[in-house]
């Protein structure tokens, strides 16, 4: 080969890794275009006083006013509190239900396939359809739940599910749990099936009870799966928009206004895209920190 001409001999051992970079390049470029670029734009917008953002407009002067306003806004701290409450309630309930159902359908019994299908079904239902179902169940005037509670004598007058802040939060959390627990169940079931049967056999020989087998074999072996699943469920709650927006719109009295609802409202109802970008950026930072903490701590500590 002529010395001055460029050549790329990917067969040479020292250049074999180049092939990997070349194959990855289209995906990396695509991700950069659809994720990184909007992210950069969003961060940039968060430092400008922008009403409706347009990419062809000249950049506005740099300002930290959006962040100053955000951190002094009671609405922002309320949205953080609501998001945190939802994360704790929904994640905990999803794990209890998800793990419980996974342990159940991991046993051998007649109709196991149907049971597995039923457990996974809510996951397959589109969010908007799930919301419509739950909106009807919890309808204040004609809903099923009020009728059931009244029939059972649990209440003496109807509950206005979407006019009461606590009730509205309960409705949103219930819908999210119903929609979210099958994911935990499926992941846990996959994890349970990867635990060697020998462990349980050995434990039985040693006289370990069912509870002890769960505590000392099942849960430790599931920890890697639980760690990843926790992060994914948490991120889903952080970013979920449609369930809350369709059910309550963030109300009443901002009782269900999470950070994602607040971002949408500021951007598209009040047309404050600079401020909305600041909320989005802060949400992203919180998500990254929470994910990092969960991934690092969960498998070791539990």
């Amino acid at each position: 080969m002529a010395g001055g001409r460029f050549s790329l001999d990917l067969a040479r051992p020292s250049r074999q890794h180049w092939l990997g970079y070349i194959l990855l390049a289209p995906a990396v470029l695509l991700i950069a275009a659809i994720i990184v670029y909007p992210l950069i734009v969003s961060v940039d917008l968060s430092f400008q006083n922008v009403g409706i953002a347009r990419l062809d407009q000249p950049r506005r002067p740099f300002t930290t006013a959006n962040y100053e306003r955000l951190f002094t806004s009671p609405d922002f701290w309320n949205a953080c509190w609501v998001t945190l409450k939802l994360i704790v309630v929904v994640t905990s309930a999803c794990f209890i239900l998800g793990l419980g159902t996974a342990l159940l359908v991991n046993n051998r019994f007649k109709g196991r396939s149907v049971a597995r299908l039923l457990v996974a079904m809510p996951w397959a239902v589109p969010e908007v359809i799930a919301v419509v179902i739950f909106a009807w169940i919890f309808d204040s005037s004609f809903g099923l739940m009020n009728w059931v509670f009244l029939s059972l004598g649990l209440i003496d007058k109807t509950i206005n599910w979407f006019s009461d802040p606590d009730a509205a939060f309960a409705v949103v959390a219930t819908t999210m749990i119903w929609k979210g627990y099958p994911f935990v169940s499926i992941m846990s079931l996959a994890g349970l099936q990867s635990i060697p049967e020998d462990y349980y056999a050995a434990a039985r020989v040693d006289g370990a009870s069912a509870l002890q087998r769960l505590r000392y074999i099942t849960l430790p072996c599931l920890m890697p799966v639980i760690g990843v699943t926790t992060v994914l469920v948490m991120l889903w709650i952080f970013r979920d928009f449609s369930i809350i927006y369709v059910l309550t719109g963030g109300g009443p009295l901002k009782a269900t206004q999470t950070l994602s609802i607040m971002t949408y409202e500021q951007a598209f109802s009040f047309f404050r895209m600079g401020y909305a970008s600041a909320i989005g950026v802060v949400t992203l930072v919180i998500c990254v920190i929470a994910a990092k903490l969960t991934m690092r701590r969960a498998p070791d500590n539990l």
Binding site: D139, S141, F142, S163, G251, S269
Partner: protein, 424 residues
């Protein structure tokens, strides 16, 4: 053989000639985008379809690409289209949201077109609301007055005459709200309002009561006037209706209208769009329409037609042609018949409308009464901040009902918050 070669050659030549004449025609085919939330609405959707048909017949090389976007996602879809530099050429917006677009310079100043075409907008209902920074940026498509619809059979059963004022109305609403099947859950309601959903609709529902009590959000100069005895009275009335569940709770406007049409709600205050829903309901034969028992009735501008400013000059000319058709005497007259609503044009012939809409005179009467009293759903001086203002009013009203607050204190809070929003 020779003949067949000749025929093939001739055929090929003919195809080439056809292609060469057809291609320029195809290339001249122009498309104008028109986005609307009213596409599938019975009545007004038919009217839009007739305008489009007429435009396409007059401009055979131009096609209108008519797309429906749901009302709930409308503002953000339109914002995204405009911000992305791909706005629809023909702009259809609600009258409470166009100001944001006009403020960005996205709506064309229509004064040169109005002047050159000689379109007479004198006496055009609600047109003054289309002025933005002194220039007309749109044409008002509807200025309406609320009607009062009631289920005659339900009222007769209770021995109630149609109410003529607030006192009669609230007494009737109390008497008509009941549990008819004895399961402990009220299933018949005196009246119906949206109490769940967006701030704009909530504000409109509430205004039925505040206007009758003499309250206004702002005065003619745009000064906030919520902390007044009249507004306190209006808020007290709203609290009485909602807190006592004389209206079904937590329903959207569409659900409430359907319940009324099906005979689960006895009385309903609403715009002209209620009538097509009544016609599809189970209780359509029991429902009567009258003027509202409140004075002045709620009314105001509804939606506008405009032109995107950042489009080529030839497209602007075509859009104006579209607007000219929509605002023509013929199509304004058709608006009354097809859309069952009062057309904004003073030249529209509405005689034929009474056949399709028996209560048409009431529509005209209430629209005029609302207009005469200077009523609009969008408070003067808060046009740009309307969404935020409406959300604040909704939240403070909800707080009043949930926490059982004194309307006087609520009015004071609303006043302070509205002033803060206005100063932003």
């Amino acid at each position: 053989m020779k003949a067949s070669i000749k025929s093939v050659l001739l055929g090929g030549l003919a195809s080439l000639v056809l292609a060469s004449t057809a291609l320029p025609a195809l290339s001249q085919q122009k498309t104008l985008k028109f986005v609307s939330w009213q596409k599938d609405e019975r009545g007004v959707g038919d009217w839009w379809a007739s305008v489009i048909k007429e435009f396409e017949a007059k401009n055979p090389n131009v096609k209108i690409e008519w797309t429906k976007v749901e009302r709930g996602a409308y503002a953000d879809t339109m914002t995204t289209l405009f911000a992305g530099g791909k706005p629809p050429e023909i702009v259809h917006l609600a009258s409470f949201e166009f100001q944001k677009f006009a403020d960005q310079g996205w709506l064309e100043d229509l004064s040169p077109y109005v002047k050159s075409s000689g379109l007479n907008l004198d006496g055009w209902a609600g047109q003054s609301a289309c002025q933005w920074k002194g220039k007309p940026v749109c044409v008002m498509l509807l200025y309406f007055g609320n009607i009062f619809a009631y289920n005659e059979e339900m009222l007769k059963k209770e021995g109630i005459s149609p109410p003529k004022n607030w006192a009669e109305y609230i007494a009737a609403a109390r008497k008509l709200t009941k549990d008819t099947n004895g399961d402990g859950i009220p299933d018949q309601f005196g009246t119906g309002h949206e109490t769940k959903g967006g701030g704009g609709q909530y504000l409109s529902e509430l205004m039925n009561y505040t206007l009758d009590a003499g309250g206004r959000w702002t005065d003619a100069n745009g000064k906030v006037t919520i902390n007044t005895p009249q507004m306190v009275e209006g808020l007290s009335r709203w609290k009485e209706v909602v807190k006592n569940s004389l209206t079904p709770r937590d329903l959207s406007a569409g659900e409430t209208r359907q319940m009324f049409a099906d005979g689960r709600i006895a009385m309903k205050l609403d715009g002209p769009w209620l009538y097509p829903i009544i016609l599809r309901g189970k209780a359509k034969d029991q429902i009567k329409i009258a003027a509202p028992p409140f004075n002045p009735p709620l009314g105001g501008s509804s939606n506008i037609l405009g032109m995107a400013s950042e489009i080529p000059a030839d497209s602007k000319k075509l859009v104006w042609d579209f607007i000219t058709i929509a605002t023509s005497d013929k199509f304004q007259s058709d608006f009354a018949t097809l859309a069952n609503s009062t057309p904004p044009s003073p030249r529209a012939k509405t005689d034929g409308a009474k056949g399709a809409t028996p209560h048409f005179d009431i529509l005209v009467q209430t629209a005029q009464a609302a207009s005469k009293a200077g009523v609009d759903r969008i408070p003067k001086g808060l046009e740009i901040q309307y969404n935020e203002f409406a959300k604040m009013i909704m939240e403070e009203s909800q707080r009043m009902i949930i926490q059982d607050l004194d309307p006087k204190a609520v009015a004071a809070t609303m006043q302070a918050k509205a002033e803060a929003i206005q100063k932003q």
